[in-house]
């Protein structure tokens, strides 16, 4: 297959709202399944104990004198939802939003964002392999037969390790456009002939740009769906994260089955209440936009929100929390069984904490991701434990998939 052909991913142009803000490939192979998987990386380490507050644990209020305000409303008699996440309450009630508590990747002790994110996106137990540049979503593309790689793409300006690797997945962002004359285009391929990196990137750029005029309907349709959805009243308009969610929803109504992007800003060392408000706004906007934009396809969708690690159980001196270990995975989507907080709660008592400071992870978060992939796509246990998440023991089914 022509590499150029399947490298074409989504593209986005930040022009007027009336014109298509996004670009997609014209021809896309059907994936061998109907389910949609959205992986959102929450960079900076989200404080899971603040988002899904275990108010039933007597130690919580003592550890977090200012973060626990009493304003979080009950979810299930033990956990309460941070008020900034209330826009997701209707989804919780409908069984379309839930959480897994006290989980983490196998990463321990150094608590570095960069290592933590690498391990999360690589899906490996540690970085001992060195020089690692291969993400678990990409490995899935490589091992699942019948899956055409062009259905995967990353949006945004950042490198997404989770989708990096030998299976091609492409990346484009708002504001990008290409301006080159046909003659210069031909000469450029001569100039780059012997440098594969430049040659491929230039050819892909040209190919993506060529699709721009060919596609406007999907984005137009999404605009209409957004305008008609009452849920969107809670969503702040105009943010880049909303544009990305709209774009992702458009694509997933068509042939795209896997999307990954990140939401930054969770590193709340100080004044966590502000940081949490901003992060929650971006994440709840994104999830609500996905639901509105996916329409009927929402019922077949799983959204997993993963973060590199949790934060300290105790709040620090500046109204924030520092890098910790165990945290929460949030999830949403009609394909998942929401309205529940899954996971074994280890407790916040002095002797319960990991290293005397962090929430103890009671399960590997990769197991939950793997079970979702198994339930949604029917992947083999061996493929999950060996190729996609090497070293993982799948363990019992946590029951996230409907």
């Amino acid at each position: 297959m022509d590499r150029r052909k399947f490298l074409i991913g989504g593209a986005a142009l930040g022009c007027s709202a009336a014109a298509s803000p996004f670009v997609t490939p014209v021809a896309m192979a059907a994936a061998p399944w109907d389910a949609r998987l959205v992986v959102i990386i929450l960079r900076g380490a989200m404080d899971g104990v603040d988002v899904i507050q275990p108010y039933g644990d007597p130690a919580l209020a003592e550890l977090r004198p200012t973060l626990v305000t009493g304003k979080a409303a009950d979810l299930d008699g033990f956990y309460a939802l941070h008020p900034a996440f209330e826009p997701l309450r209707p989804l919780w009630n409908a069984g379309e939003f839930g959480a897994v508590q006290a989980v983490s990747t196998p990463y321990r002790d150094k608590r570095s964002h960069f290592d933590g994110q690498d391990i999360l996106e690589a899906g490996l137990p540690d970085l001992s392999g060195g020089g690692l540049r291969d993400g678990w979503l990409n490995r899935m593309l490589q091992v699942v037969p019948g899956l055409e790689p062009e259905v995967a793409f990353a949006i945004g300006r950042e490198q997404m390790l989770v989708l990096s690797g030998d299976a091609p997945a492409s990346r484009w962002s708002p504001d990008a456009r290409l301006s080159i004359s046909p003659n210069a285009r031909a000469l450029l391929s001569v100039v780059h002939h012997d440098d594969p990196l430049f040659r491929d990137a230039s050819e892909d750029a040209i190919a993506i740009a060529e699709q721009i005029s060919l596609q406007a309907d999907l984005a137009q349709e999404t605009e209409t769906m957004m305008a008609e959805s009452p849920m969107m009243e809670a969503v702040s308009r105009g943010g880049e994260h909303v544009k990305i969610a709209e774009f992702a929803a458009s694509r997933m109504r068509a042939d795209t089955r896997i999307v990954s992007f990140s939401i930054n800003g969770w590193d709340t060392h100080a004044h966590q209440s502000n940081g949490m408000k901003n992060g929650a706004r971006a994440l709840t906007d994104t999830i609500l936009t996905l639901k509105a934009g996916l329409g009927a396809a929402w019922d077949k969708t799983a959204v997993l929100c993963l973060t590199e690690f949790g934060r300290t159980a105790r709040e620090n001196g500046s109204g924030g929390t520092d890098h910790g270990t165990g945290g929460a995975m949030l999830y949403a989507g009609g394909a998942l069984r929401g309205g529940q907080v899954v996971g074994e709660w280890p407790g916040l008592g002095e002797s319960d904490l990991y290293a005397g400071r962090d929430l103890l992870p009671t399960r590997d978060v990769r197991a939950h991701v793997a079970w979702v992939m198994r339930g949604l796509i029917g992947l083999d246990q061996a493929v999950l434990e060996q190729a996609i998440f090497p070293g993982l023991e799948l363990g019992p089914n946590p029951g996230l998939v409907r």
């Binding site: 290409l178 210069a184 002939h193 430049f198 060392h269 500046s318």
Partner: protein
């Protein structure tokens, strides 16, 4: 030694220029670096200490407005505060222009590259909108004077800078047993300590433990910053007692910035720091997977010279890897743009008289599309080095579009592509680029093809 002037200008400088000669030898490069910083004197950028508007200027304007509320002076105070804010925006723009002119016209390109390398190593980001223009003054104060000096001095200047202190929350930190913490529930913030070990000194693979992070955080307590005083030391916030960092005890007597600085000097002279810095330098200037013998030689020289950076540079430039004819790195977006402007010979006045809208249209926005937002890397680890991060379909679209469209807006007359290919790439350009420059339909396409070529984009 296989020194090559073209490689020296492109790989270790900004690039070739039609009017400024390439370096003639390693000794020439090093002599310029140790000589006076002439381009900075010619095209000044104020230091953080001297900059207008400062955070204090803005605070005073805000206070004046608060006091004038409801009085006849309210409109004037409001207008004054608005003006201070506007002055900050204008200042930032003038600093961008100064950076462009310095890069396009310096005869000491290695110094400019080192300034950017170390500014990236010590990435700080503005934490408030009114601080947006203060990154260049931070670099001018804490980085630039030290690039050919001693690493510990730079480290101490950075840790004392309000921009780094605010960026990594150090002003929020206080010793759990300090005078200030008594009665309140305030405490330690480990952010700066962690990044100092992980990014700035030993590196994430370095031999330190979580207990070292905490001890360093406690040693750093007292380091703070304010609009009024800049970076300063507050003994009331310092954790009492000595701290054991990497096996060395610091402090214990009356709390003092001297203890902090002694700790920083200790970090600077750690063998893991030497290797971390050497590896980063080689990766940045020469390419990925640096040769271990080169890294070890640079690290050894650094330790032998008591943390002086100059010797490391000398070892690097005298090593054959530095002059390998294969260019394995790509220019980051800012470097691509300034090297283009340098090769095109864009007039100084054209840059200094540029309107805000032109800077946004030709510099800021294209850089963002190419993946590099002006002075705003995503995290404290700065910009990535790997070529795959930059040469993506989108990044390439940005580079091609800039090459084809922007030069004609910067020059009255574009150069003849048949000559420009030599100006930009030196005496032996690749055959394919030579062919394309001659075969292009228009002058702007010809110039654009040279700039968009891998030969120009690599270094």
């Amino acid at each position: 030694m296989p020194f090559d002037p073209t490689i020296a200008a492109i790989r270790f400088g900004i690039g070739l220029s039609p009017t400024i000669a390439a370096p003639s030898s390693v000794a020439d490069m090093l002599a310029r670096l140790t000589g006076p910083d002439t381009i900075a004197a010619e095209v000044p950028i104020p230091t953080y200490t001297d900059v207008y508007p400062s955070p204090l200027d803005y605070r005073q304007a805000t206070r004046a407005l608060t006091q004038a509320r409801g009085t006849d002076g309210e409109d004037a105070a409001d207008e004054h505060r608005r003006q201070v804010r506007q002055d900050g925006t204008d200042a930032m723009l003038s600093f961008v222009k100064a950076d462009l002119i310095r890069a396009a016209y310096t005869e000491d390109g290695f110094r400019e590259r080192l300034v950017r390398f170390w500014a990236d190593h010590f990435t700080a980001r503005p934490t408030k909108g009114i601080d947006r223009h203060l990154i260049s003054p931070y670099i001018e104060e804490a980085i630039r004077p030290y690039v050919a000096g001693n690493f510990a001095d730079m480290l101490i200047a950075v840790v004392g800078s309000p921009m780094m202190i605010w960026f990594l929350d150090q002003h929020q930190s206080m010793g759990p047993n300090s005078q200030a913490a008594r009665g309140g529930n305030k405490g330690l913030n480990e952010n700066l300590a962690r990044e100092l070990l992980e990014l700035h000194t030993l590196g994430v693979g370095g031999g330190y433990q979580p207990s070292d992070v905490r001890a360093l955080a406690e040693l750093l307590t007292g380091v703070s910053a304010s609009a009024q005083d800049g970076g300063y030391f507050r003994p009331s916030h310092a954790e009492p007692g000595p701290e054991l960092v990497l096996g060395v005890e610091y402090g214990g007597g009356e709390a003092s910035i001297e203890d902090v600085n002694a700790g920083l000097r200790g970090l600077a002279m750690h063998p893991d720091t030497a290797r971390h810095l050497a590896r980063k330098l080689v990766t940045h200037f020469v390419g990925p997977s640096p040769s271990l013998t080169l890294v070890d030689a640079m690290a050894a020289r650094y330790l032998q010279d008591g943390g002086a950076l100059f010797g490391m540079y000398e070892v690097l430039l005298e090593h054959e890897d530095a002059w390998n004819s294969v260019a394995r790195n790509v220019k980051q977006p800012f470097d691509f743009i300034v090297s283009s402007m340098r090769a095109l010979g864009v007039e100084r006045d054209e840059i200094s008289n540029a309107e805000n809208v032109a800077i946004r249209r030709y510099i800021h926005r294209p850089m963002t599309v190419m993946g590099q937002t002006w002075q705003r890397p995503v995290g404290p680890d700065g910009w990535p080095e790997e070529e795959e991060n930059w040469i993506t379909p989108q990044g390439m679209a940005g580079r091609i579009t800039w090459s084809m469209q922007v030069p004609q807006n910067l020059l009255d007359h574009l150069p003849d592509p048949r000559a420009f290919v030599y100006t930009a790439l030196g005496p032996t350009p690749p055959e394919a680029v030579l062919f394309a420059a001659n075969a292009a339909e228009t002058v702007s396409d010809g110039v654009g093809l040279v700039l968009a070529s891998a030969a120009f984009q690599r270094r």
